[in-house]
Amino acid sequence: MSGSKLKYVIELQARKQGSYLVVFSIIMIVIALGVAIGFSYLMSSPEGGGMLYLATGAPTIVLIMTALVTVPMQNAGAKMTGYMDFVKSLPVSRKLFLIADVGIWAMVTVPAIAVSVFVAHLIFEPGYAISWTIIPAFVLMVLSCFAIGYGYSFVIPAEPAMALSQLIAFISLMFSPINFPIERLPGWVQAVHEVLPIYHMAEVMRASLAHTTFEAQPISYIILAAWTVVGFFGAVRFLERA
């Protein structure tokens, strides 16, 4: 019953956004290539470990830009135009809406991640070693990322949520150990990142894409799982609340 209804909710969400989803997946491809190729210009000698950091950081940036920046902006807009009220009045379980939307947006990130890894490999051969753990790791990262994105954009009022999404975009690009080792950051920033999900996402992504070079600690998986639970709890609470 609810399975067949999920199909209609996916149709509703996918067709509402339509060409925007296509445009966005193209933009994400550009961003991912930008991180891998563009950032290499920042380095004096784009070789060895530094290049591998960029090449394995790009997919994480794609996930963060989608789930923690773009989706929250969309959700804040949907709240302001009354679309969320409409969604809440639909004769379906509201969890289906969350499942459908996360599914659609996760699909949007796949081409960008695949293309950027492929192109970076062709140009730099940074030393990818893709492990089978990429699949469960990708699922965990997608879930945690979207859980947080939906969670904060539903729980926080629209305008501050929009502002926060911009802040996240800036901080994750410049001050997060995604494209460089965490040791380069001041101690207190390192401590903050130990608790926040961004560093752990990057660690898990790196370990999956280059398992011969990097290794993620079990704590990274645990912290991501914890953020997933907290985020989805907040999002579902918002949806189920009258």
Binding site: V9, S19, D85, S89, L90, P91, A242
Partner: protein, 316 residues
């Protein structure tokens, strides 16, 4: 049989330490196949009632029963039992009227053939077929509003709630819309029309309630209420070119009011010829422009009930 039953529903909102009573001991009943008009100006508490029926809000006290199911105890049921046309225009994004109406029908569990049949029927009735496959981003407000009606009406179930259905809709299609609303009731659906456009709704609704500051001021059979309000009286309506104090109330007149450059004078039906003569004289003196004699309407009763503040903010 009653499909919607609200009994002694009270709902208040708290914000910044202040409590606003949105619904104050509201009791309403809507039967199968009945069109119920819920009238009131902005902030009267109409949408609060709608949201409680849908289970989006929980009343502080009182009971809400839809099709025999207790919505207060089981709030999730509200949105399954009532289809709603929301007050705001639904942002369709790139969805077309046809695709979104189809999704709504399928979500309500009717067969694809039935969905297509109903969609065609409604679009033809409302004369919006030429926009059936145009993306929502390119549609006008009126067409979006009519699409909202079709989304609620495609698989109406036991109860349909229409919140300001005629806003933004052109006059010709408004008539089609009222006729489509009557069709819904004919099929046995209980229809609640929430509106401040009383003049338009009064020929369609069977029963009605007037809401003001959260309280029901009057409710019952619409025809009966109009009969009581009008009695044996009529009114003269005219464009006033002078202020109220320039007019002398004729001895046969009951009440004379000038508001928003419109003069209203009520009188006993037998005195219609006197009234026309009086109006012609006033026009010759340059105090009035166009004038007409009309029946007392529910809207007149409404304005009398809620006062002129309502007339300025809600009705005009």
């Amino acid at each position: 049989m009653a499909v919607i039953e609200l009994d002694h529903v009270t709902k208040s909102y708290k914000s910044r330490g202040r409590t606003t009573l949105a619904n104050d001991d509201v009791s309403l009943h809507v039967d199968e196949g009945e069109i119920f008009g819920l009238f009131g100006h902005n902030g009267a508490g109409k949408t609060t009632i709608v949201n409680q029926l849908l289970g989006l809000l929980k009343p502080d006290s009182g009971s809400i029963v839809v099709a025999g199911q207790d919505i207060v105890k089981n709030r999730n049921l509200g949105r399954y039992l009532c289809s709603v046309q929301p007050q705001s225009k639904t942002p369709l994004g790139e969805l077309t009227p046809r695709s979104v109406t189809r999704v709504m029908g399928q979500l309500r569990g009717i067969s694809p053939e039935e969905v297509d049949r109903r969609t065609t029927e409604l679009f033809e009735k409302l004369d919006i077929m030429q926009w059936a496959d145009v993306q929502g981003t390119k549609l006008s407000g009126g067409v979006l509003r009519l699409t909202g009606f079709c989304m609620a009406a495609v698989a109406p179930g036991r109860a349909v709630i229409l919140d300001e259905p005629t806003n933004d809709v052109d006059p010709v299609r408004r008539r089609f819309l009222w006729s489509a609303i009557r069709d819904l009731a004919k099929d046995g659906t209980a229809v609640v029309v929430v509106t401040h456009s009383i003049r338009e709704a009064e020929n369609t609704v069977d029963t009605m309630a007037v809401l003001n500051e959260g309280k029901v001021l009057k409710q019952g059979n619409a025809r009966q209420i109009r009969g009581e309000a009008a009695g044996n009286r009529m009114k003269l309506e005219a464009v006033a070119k002078a202020t109220e104090d320039r007019f002398e109330v004729p001895s046969w007149g009951e009440s004379l009011k000038v508001a928003e450059a419109e003069l209203t004078l009520t009188f006993e039906r037998e005195l219609a010829t006197e009234a026309l003569k009086w109006a012609a004289e006033q026009r010759d003196r340059g105090l009035l422009a166009e004038y007409s004699l009309t029946e007392i309407t529910l809207e007149d009763m409404y304005i009398e009930l809620v006062g002129n503040r309502g007339a300025v903010e809600g009705v005009r």
